[in-house]
Amino acid sequence: MKLDAKIPAGSVSQKWDKYRFDLKLVNPANKRKFDVLIVGSGLAGASAAATLAELGYNVKVFCLQDSPRRAHSIAAQGGINAAKNYPNDGDSVWRLFYDTVKGGDYRAREANVYRLAQVSNSIIDQCVAQGVPFAREYGGALDNRSFGGAQVSRTFYARGQTGQQLLLGAYSSLMRQVNKKQVQIFPRREMAELVVIDGVARGIVVRNLITGQFESYAGHAVLLATGGYGNTFYLSTNANSCNVSAAWRAYKKGAGFANPCFTQIHPTCIPQSGEHQAKLTLMSESLRNDGRVWVPKKKGDTRSPDQIPDSERDYYLERQYPTFGNLVPRDVASRAAKRMIDEGRGVGKTGLSVYLDFADAVKRQGKAKIVEKYGNLFDMYHHLTAEDPYRVPMRIYPAVHYAMGGLWVDYNLMTTIPGLFCLGEANFSDHGANRLGASALMQGLGDGYFIIPYTLGGYLASTKLPKAGTDHQAFAEAQRLAHERVKRLLSSKGKRTPVSFHKELGKLLWSNCGMSRNEKGLKEALAKIPAIREEFWNNLVVSGSGNDFNQTLERASRVGDYLEFAELLVRDALERKESCGGHFREESQTPDNEAKRDDANFSHAAVWEHAGEGKDPIRNQEPLTFTDVVPSQRSYA
């Protein structure tokens, strides 16, 4: 596999400007001759679709939800970063760039991260122009708050519903283009196959989830904006329908998959209440602005929190990391919580949680101010737990949240398959081994509004694409594969449901490849996954037919893919013998139990290549070079 990141020459701050000039342009009158297929309608997909349509391309958008407005970006809570420096507290494009590279534990590409920081300000301008109701000061200017891993306030927010408001902004721009007939939306469609003709991505086959029929669509480029693979772990903060299937099909057609072991475990989620649980719910990181994290100093202290005096509480983040306090990055906060719980100082019925306490904030700022900042989050917590966080501290526990890994893309956001681009969480690029809070929304929208419109134009203007319609033999072949898969899933007359296999896989991954990983556990998982997969294909039961709305079949198909992808995830974790960011190998830690990188051997992106069914995948490397942010042991103390 040839990996050319196509990073432009020049200083990091000049690269993008110069590159935009160097990219060939598509003549305005010719844009309407190009069909662009976009899979996924979250922040990345919707913003790309709207912008490309505004430029004049013919755009088709496919999403598995009933409306593009329901993509999982909608659930992002806390905010979106930008280097506006409105608070005058020392922020700059350079600082956002620096914080992001450092926060990612030096496993991201400098050039991409700098570009992201550069476009961050335009994203805020664009969203405000669309009418996104960001929080404001009394003077009418935009308000900011702080997030983990930064010492400046650069996060713009719309209460605890920032993702919702940004997505509705992108969705409204998208619907405007539907109105102008520049975009066609295909809801309740799930990508089943990528169609590659002469080595170039030229179309997709999707399953219509209502009729069960497979449909073929041809285009000049395919954009995957299909989100992350966190649901591989069964329990995660992702919505139920989030999955890895589209990315996985692309991988099998030749797209490199980078750093699958980089999975973010978010420190502040509502703890699991029992076996029945279908998903976990995030409590925004923004809460750590005002909430103080603590556990009792004594092991096995079962007193209720109000009975534990201040002197007997351990505000362990403030103690261990006085500079960043409760606002250390997510990977650091999650591991610290795990250490407390492993020491036997966890709280709640199960002992599997820590407190996030707002008593001081309520005292200092008044309840009204807290309601204004976090009202909907407190309501959400109340609905789920029947506890009132204004009076009783919240109980939180880490949970799988975000995928830093994803399809490998070059500087143009193009995968190793020409014509196949990947945007947003689905790609691997900008967050390295750990994403900072409020940077996912920035990346999704940066990719969609401000990067792909340029780089896709460059590709289309400089590539000769022969005519290839859905009558091409490759579409028939893709449809055949898709049909066969459904037939195989339906024909298994076993005893276990898709969910039961998914749960089994998730438990294995969480215990052996979760917050902390070691060689023995990873090897064990690597041995067990193929066994689960084998049972899946022999003992699965899927009721109903393939010719109508069948949610069990949908789930079965996704679980089939998780069972293959999980193996790659574990393999990647095993091969990366260093700790970095969210990937913590017990064999590689500092005396203070922090992640210890091994730059001499692992300063690279691991890019996995499908070698054929039944064969071990090939691990390729894209070396990472740092010229502007010199890697050091991360410290937030």
Partner: protein, 249 residues
């Protein structure tokens, strides 16, 4: 606890539907209502029978996908919550719970409890946007918005587009949904240039989709999981009157 569920089953859009009864055994008050449905479905699948089709996704009250009428109330008995946020602690062991899809002429049933709400997307397509191309935006702080206006716009923009308001209305009117979007933009300076054409276009599409009229029942406000207020409808009516008398559209 044990529950009896009376669930609407309907094979397809043109088939006749009916209620079927299911027993749920050994569930706990901490479980969400949907997790009880999951349990029933797992048992049905294992028995080789078709599970109950129902829409759900985020399971935290923000995506607006779930669309169940539970004991006659869209999203069930909890105030300011979606169906996915409802927990079994809202019920007593031995209760019989009736589950139907959101019902409205504009929301045809696809299967069982799954409905087609694309009508709402078409209303948005008609005018639920600010016409601004990527790249043409002014510096964000060059548009100052008074905090109270911005907060009121956010109150309206919090709508998750679930359609509970339609299901609760005796006329199956979508006025609360449409007015929330109209209000969100009407309150902000960014929305002002297109306010007339927006309200006219969205209301026209709303009528074409077969939604009913508003007769001030306020049932919509009562069931809205995001507590969108009916004053938005009043604001939309003012916007509409203003547009039909003074607009050049």
């Amino acid at each position: 606890m044990n529950l009896t569920l009376r669930v609407w089953r309907q094979k397809g859009p043109k088939e006749k539907g009916h209620f079927e009864t299911y027993q749920v055994q050994d569930v706990t008050p901490e479980m969400s209502f949907f997790e009880a449905l999951d349990k029933v479905n797992e048992e049905l699948i294992t028995a080789g029978r078709e599970p109950i089709a129902f829409d759900h996704d985020c399971r935290e009250g923000i995506c607006g996908t779930c669309s169940l009428t539970i004991n006659g109330q869209p999203h069930g008995p909890d105030e300011a919550a979606t169906g996915c946020q409802l927990h079994l602690r809202a019920f007593k062991s031995g209760d019989t719970i009736t589950i139907e899809p959101f019902r409205a002429r504009a929301f045809p049933v696809i299967k069982d409890l799954v409905i087609d709400r694309s009508a709402l997307d078409r209303v948005m397509t008609a005018g639920g946007f600010v016409s601004v191309n990527t790249g043409s935006a002014a510096e964000a702080n060059s548009i100052l918005v008074p905090k109270d206006k911005s907060d009121a716009a956010m109150d309206a923009a919090a709508c998750i587009g679930c359609g509970a308001c339609v299901a609760a209305c005796p006329n199956a009117s979508a006025m609360l949904f449409v007015s929330a979007k109209v209000s969100h933009f009407a309150l902000l300076p960014q929305g002002k240039p297109e306010r007339d054409r927006r309200v006219l276009a969205m209301q026209k599409q709303m009528d074409l989709e077969g939604f009913g009229n508003c007769s001030n029942e306020s049932e919509c406000e009562a069931v809205c999981p995001k507590e969108i207020k009916v004053c938005n409808i009043a604001r939309m009516n003012r916007e509409f009157l203003r547009a039909i008398f003074w607009s050049k559209e």
